[in-house]
């Protein structure tokens, strides 16, 4: 048997006193997809970075096809045939696709001074053909910024492969892709496997693991836990490996119905509309109505551009005073005008983009937790550091945020703990209505579970929750009711028990609750924002 | 909202421009005055002198332009004046070489050009009026030596200690004011104990003087290349409580600067660096009336001291 493409043995790495990797070994064979699984902070990304030549000082051995190597720079790793696709894409938006594909290795003449544009175009087209990328010569000349994220993702892969890589490492490549886009990526991976590449794949999505994996290696707290063929590693065992304990029920179903159906609604919305920023286009949301009672969790589902996110932003006043319709909170009329006002009235809004609009990464954990409720810790405008720390500490404990100190910058925490900090920030405002958009995005399995439990507890405490999620199991298990939006309007409403993935999808595509199609089918590009079609079975 | 605010601002700007550009009528001749930089009080004074001299003659009208210390802007302004067919040009150029061609071009087109303060190259202009920095520096040096000779220490055979605060040694006026001063000091019982560039700026002069006071225990005289520099040095010495034993002299002698400082007794002497504004207007009139003028006029300067400032100073030899 020939040596594997890649052999890692006893890899270790420390950042200061923190041992983030310790004695990790693994093989990558030609023609296999090897999934690297583990909770956030398990050391997966660090391992990939060692492979990519980003971290040069590590313990242990890296062998390529039996030959020991040690990469000092990303360029060296690249030259040796290793291509890495990171969570953040490394494309230059303003440059053309072809220019991006060959950035740093432009075909050139006259000693490298004169760009050979025709040769670059030729080679780019050739590359696209090999990889089944449907990009025309004109497409190649357009700036990368013109393309949707999914296309960028494949361009990034094409760029990696144009360097004749045999080993491809992908760190959560699907985190921002929709269903069909994911399918196309997987098809590309199949092509690469046939060509003899080995793929190291990191993902947090259980469904994906079983769709792509040939073998799975699990890391926990920087240590190797186990490696198994995907077929020999059923989901419960995988989860047990990842979190180190058995989760009897991955998403426990909601215990009991929402209480007090006859109670006054916490949040009542009637005929709510959100205009589109472009006046020429139809409104982002129109005629939306809902009543959410204390203790109720209402789920919202919709395809990309259906208006779910816009609905939250409109309700929260993030667009200003532009929305139409009527809103009541606990029976009091409420006009969304400005987030500041909304917070005062008991609204809280967890955005999907944690980095972009949730956290202030450079500020401390304590400062982030108190950010939305500063008046409470600064009577007469003067900050009381003691009060702030005490309140932040209490929230951090209640949400079980794992941190070294309240003063540590929030950017240094893992994804799940960052999300808990954002949640803590909103809880500090003592909200009555929680708007949650993708509360478990980029969060590891253990933290996900904890966040679900927290949501239930808040509901039990009498809050009203509205939930947008692209993870179908999450939506189905947590929601008391699910509303489906299509092009800004409600096309379906399902109670607990009657909702199935199939019904929701039909409504999301414009077929109102089992009725024949109400409008023209959405264009192909308007594809699923949501879930892979194959959902695990639900009780 | 934003668009309306923008329009409002634009309208305001247009109104301001219109007011600033409104012409006066009734003059027989139009003179274009191109000033290289109105950021210096001395040049503000030059314009003021021209304006005052011109006010006495209703038959001429002067249009002022300020090049804001930009050679190319000044070149463009001279060309604008030529295109506007002014009857005569007064140019105080920023520097010689790059401004020679536009001045020569105007001269060739038959527009008389009076060049003020700094020269252009060649002969293609009507008249040059300027002062001689080296001569003024020499006069300051000679005056300083006479004054220092009165000090008991010098009478007893000791050396006088001098601080020189230079303008900018990369500029011609700075170099000339330094060279002239040193010529006069040659062979005399003096020692320059501290010298520094203060870039013609008063706050900078004050900083440098503080350093001089820190390193030199005895200072008899401070020679600054301009009056603000001398004033800054005085303030530094005063803050240190050492102003009484030091003689301060400066150059420029502007009415609202150097002359004031002399009157107040802060400076003992200020040496005029004349702007030539009045002379420029008088000679321009001669040219316009068809009289002949000298190709080159070197302006005489005055020294203002406590004794003579009230009487209007005293002409230097």
């Amino acid at each position: 048997m020939p040596p594997p493409l890649l052999h890692l043995s006893a890899i270790g790495k420390s950042f200061g006193p923190n041992r983030v990797l310790d004695g990790v070994s693994l093989d990558l064979r030609a023609g296999e997809v090897h999934v690297l699984a583990g909770e956030n902070g398990a050391g997966k990304s660090t391992l990939i970075k060692i492979l990519a030549g980003i971290h040069a000082d590590y313990d242990g051995r890296v062998e390529l096809a039996g030959r020991a190597v040690r990469f000092a720079t990303p360029l060296a790793a690249n030259r040796a045939g290793i291509a890495v696709i990171h969570q953040e894409l490394s494309l230059v938006d303003t440059m053309s696709v072809a220019d991006n594909l060959f950035l740093g290795r432009e075909p050139a003449r006259i000693g490298g001074w004169w760009l050979d544009r025709p040769a670059q175009r030729r080679r780019a087209l050739e590359l696209c053909r090999q990889l089944d990328l449907e990009l025309s010569a004109e497409d190649l000349a357009r700036p990368v910024g013109d393309f949707p994220l999914s296309a960028k993702n494949r361009i990034e892969i094409a760029k990696a492969l144009s360097q004749e890589a045999r080993i491809l490492a992908m760190d959560e490549p699907t985190s921002a892709l929709n269903g069909p886009e994911v399918k196309r990526l997987f098809a590309l991976m199949e092509t690469l496997k046939r060509q003899g590449c080995g793929i190291l794949y990191i993902t947090h999505r259980m469904e994906e693991i079983y769709r792509v994996a040939d073998r799975i290696t699990v890391l926990r707290d920087g240590r190797w836990v186990g490696t198994a063929r995907a077929a020999d590693c059923p989901e419960p065992r995988l989860i047990q490996w990842m979190i180190g304990r058995e989760l009897a029920d991955y998403i426990p179903p909601r215990s009991g119905p929402a209480r007090g159906g006859e109670q006054r609604p916490r949040l009542a919305v009637r005929g709510f509309g959100v205009p589109s920023p472009d006046p020429a286009r139809p409104a982002a949301v129109r005629g939306f109505s809902v009543e959410v009672r204390p203790g109720e969790i209402v789920g919202l589902a919709g395809l990309q551009g259906a208006g779910c996110s816009e609905l939250f932003q409109g309700l929260f006043g993030a667009y200003g005073r532009v929305c139409t319709g009527e809103v009541w909170i606990d029976g009091e009329p409420f006009v969304p005008s400005d987030p500041r006002h909304s917070i005062r009235r008991g609204l809280a809004y967890l955005t999907a983009d944690r980095k972009g609009s949730g956290l202030v990464a450079g500020m401390s954990v304590a400062a982030n937790i108190s950010l939305a409720s500063l008046p409470r810790v600064s009577p007469a405008g003067v900050l009381r550091a003691g009060v702030e720390r005490e309140r932040a500490g209490r929230q951090a404990t209640a949400l079980d945020v794992r941190l070294a100190s309240l003063d540590q910058a929030v950017g240094t925490l893992s994804g799940g703990n960052q999300q808990k900090v954002v949640l803590a920030k909103w809880l500090e405002t003592e909200p009555r209505v929680l708007l949650l958009e993708e509360p478990t995005r980029g969060v590891d399995v253990g933290a996900k579970h904890e966040i679900y439990a927290l949501m239930r507890r808040w509901a039990a405490d009498g809050m009203a929750l509205l939930l947008i999620s692209t993870e179908m199991p999450e939506l189905l298990r947590l929601s008391d009711r699910i509303l489906v939006l299509h092009r800004g309007g409600i096309t379906g409403s399902f109670g607990r028990g009657e909702a199935t993935p199939e019904k929701i999808l039909a409504a999301a595509m414009g077929a109102a609750a089992g009725r024949p199609e109400a409008g023209p089918p959405p264009p192909a590009a308007d594809a699923l924002r949501v879930w892979p079609l194959a959902c695990p079975a639900f009780p | 909202m934003k668009k309306r605010t923008g329009l409002l601002l634009l309208a305001g700007a247009v109104a301001l421009t219109a007011r600033a550009a409104a012409p006066k009528h009734g003059a027989q001749w139009v003179i274009g005055m191109s000033q290289c930089n109105l950021g210096e009080p001395w040049r503000v004074q030059m314009n003021a002198d021209i304006r005052r001299a011109a006010e006495a003659h209703p038959e001429i009208r002067v249009i002022f332009k300020d090049a804001q210390n930009d050679t190319l802007a000044q070149r463009a302004q001279i060309e604008e004046f030529v295109n506007a067919d002014v009857d005569l040009l007064i140019v105080s150029p920023k520097e010689a070489a790059p401004l020679t061609p536009p001045v020569a071009e105007a001269f060739q087109k038959g527009i008389p050009v009076v060049v003020l303060d700094r020269r252009v190259l060649g002969e293609e202009f009507t008249e040059f009026i300027g002062a001689d920095n080296r001569r003024i520096g020499r006069a300051a040096g000679a005056w300083a030596m006479r004054r220092l000779a009165e000090l008991p220490a010098v009478k007893a055979g000791g050396k006088a200690r001098i601080v020189e605060l230079k303008g900018l040694m990369t500029s011609t006026p700075g170099q000339d004011r330094d060279a002239g001063f040193r010529e006069a000091l040659k062979g005399q019982p003096v020692e320059i104990v501290f010298e520094a560039d203060m870039k013609w700026l008063e706050p900078q002069a004050r900083k440098e003087m503080e350093s001089a006071l820190a390193v030199a225990p005895q200072i008899d005289l401070v020679y600054a290349h301009n009056d603000p520099g001398a004033h800054g040095a005085y303030l530094a010495a005063k803050a240190a409580g050492r102003e009484a034993g030091i003689i301060f002299i400066g150059i420029d002698g502007l009415p609202q600067e150097g002359q004031v400082y002399v009157r107040q007794g802060l400076l003992e002497a200020s040496f005029e660096y004349p702007t030539g504004g009045r002379e420029a207007v008088e000679n321009a009139l001669k040219v316009l009336r068809g009289e002949s003028v000298a190709k080159e006029v070197t302006l005489r300067s005055r020294v203002f001291t406590r004794a003579n400032v009230a009487a209007g100073g005293e002409w230097l030899p």
Partner: protein, 328 residues
Amino acid sequence: MSTARRWFEHSGTRALLALGFVLALGLVFNAGGAFFHWSTHRDMLRQVSVDGILACGMTLVIVTGGIDLAVGSILGLCAVLFALVSLHGGYAAPVAIGAVLLAGAGAGLLSGGLVARFRIQPFIATLAMMVFARGAAKWLSGGEKISQAVQAPDGSFAYVKLPAIFRAIDARVWGGNIAVVTLIFLACAAVTWLVLARLRYGRYLYATGGNEEAARLSGVPVLRAKLLAYGLSGAFSAVAGICQAAQEQQGDPEAGAGYELTAIAIVVLGGNSLMGGRGGMGLTLLGAMTIGYLEKILSINAVGDSSRLMLTGLIVVAAVLLQRRRAG
């Protein structure tokens, strides 16, 4: 990571290292012992005060992720205004100071409004204010220094007495050991520290600079926070203008030209991030000391202008690299 290593990586320590480097230069090149006299340090503290006051406002603005290029021009405008009101107008000191502070804060609020309300890039908005304020200073003064000599319409001069406030600001206290302007600088630094470290609005400034969208959605009054930063920066520029006028005993419309760059250099040399969201007044104070000592050491050694410019460039880079090396 060892404790010592972490200590080194603290940005305050790194700024201290740069200051130490410059001070070491002073020990070596002490100009015949002049560096060892308190008066040299006292004078340095006086000289750096005006720049330091501007740097206080600059710190507030830079924390919000902005930049204020108008501080030098507002200084000039306020120096002229103070001289006009106090010296020529003969108004009492509190009136003059109040009017000038209002004018400075107003100019700052104006550029803040352009940044916050009309979303003009800070660089452009304050560049416009920088040009406009310089023009206003020249227009108010007629292009001439507003000094004790007042020109009558006929060209003759009358002289006014220097108001006591001018002498008071330019005086020294505590046995002549510290300049009043230095105390004013320290007071401005204390106000800035208070705002940034102790007030709710300070937190708003950090949040705005750190992540404006997250701050807005968390109910932070981003617009008001920016107005506060630029308004305070304008007010500090006015304070600096008053100090400048008092020290020159006149209002010079050209005063403060180029000071904005020194103020930015002070903030950055202290280790504050130009990206916003981080830093503080302590770092700016260290930056001010570093710049002040650098200028002072070059000055007492009577280094010529051309060499001084080159040395300043080299030493600033060396100081910043020294900070960087430890950050490894």
